[in-house]
Symmetry: C2
Subunit: 199 residues, 2 copies
């Protein structure tokens, strides 16, 4: 005998969560049963609702339960004429939290990766090209990650922008504010030097 | 704008899990939406089922969806005439995994704690006394935790057993197998010395 069948099912279902192995799943199951049945019921309901109704925004591809997300619906943001390209909805969130960007987004939901068979169509670049042709975008800010794939993706989109006569810019990479030089990796330091500005 | 309302609800609902703060909940929500919607739907269903149907065994108080759990239903285990008292269902599991105990259990779902207002009735000691009077139990093994409260609880139950003429024993506490003496705390070492056996 290990667990009752239903308790076993609960523990195994909890391991679908990232970073949750069998041991933590056990701890979670017992915690919910002993102390938070209401919270667990509520989580069950919200999981169903969210998985059924949260889809991709038809314009920027971020997650939303609306056809077009709140940011894309905002006239003020559309008027800004600046489109920021990111790899994931989490990146949108991180940028929004800085309150320093007032344009709209396009979420690739990944990056180009020929090795994994991920080409331009898989990250929505066909839709992006259509948008760039139709909308009055004056600048595209490329905020993909500073990885090999992120850089390659940024380059690909920059070329697309060039052929459409739209300014493309890349966010700066360098020493993080508050970061200590001696602990920064070499590649970041190289970026920091080559991206230096006159004072 | 932070998240779409439903995504915000999902993230907040996930924080009902122990050890999951806002940041991990975000990570979990995005992971499920991007990569495992089926798993999330399944988890939602199992959470509902488990919270609705898993209750306490009417005999031993462990978690089960049956009226009486599998262990309590086993004639072989009843015949053993040995009742092991533990604080939680997780303790039952830990003991079962050793395959070294063939009797039945009684799960207190806690321990005596006068400071928190937890008295004998709150940890099922009334039911336990009834069981001890009705069933042919020849020995009660006290496997509560080696904490102040666990020891007090064990003592309380031992006195109950004495008055009913039933042998009560306490599991041994000492140096864990494979443990190195120099790293063992003093209280455990004291237990290990006072519990020494002749060779
Ligand atoms: Zn959108
Ligand atoms: Zn039982």
């Amino acid at each position: 005998m290990k667990f009752s069948p239903l308790l076993g099912e609960l523990i195994s279902a909890l391991t679908c969560l990232p970073g949750v192995g069998n041991k933590s799943a056990q701890r979670m199951a017992f915690h919910l049963l002993e102390r938070n049945r209401d919270g667990a019921m509520k989580l069950g309901t919200v999981l169903h609702n969210a998985m059924e109704h949260i889809q991709h925004c038809q314009q920027c591809r971020t997650f939303t339960e609306d056809e077009v997300c709140e940011i894309c619906r905002s006239p003020k943001r559309q008027e800004a004429g600046v489109l920021c390209i990111v790899e994931s909805p989490q990146d949108v969130l991180a940028i929004e939290q800085t309150l320093s960007f007032g344009g709209t987004y396009f979420v690739l939901m990944g990056h180009l990766s020929p090795i994994d068979g991920i080409g331009p169509a898989d990250i929505g670049l066909t839709e992006l090209e259509t948008r760039l042709k139709q909308e009055p975008v004056s600048e595209v800010i490329l905020a993909t990650n500073p990885t090999v794939e992120g850089e390659a993706t940024a380059h690909y989109i920059a070329q697309m922008c060039n052929s459409l006569d739209i300014t493309a810019s890349r966010i700066a990479h360098g020493v993080p504010v508050g970061g200590e030089l001696e602990y920064i990796d070499g590649s970041t330091l190289t970026h920091a030097f080559s991206g230096r500005r006159k004072l």
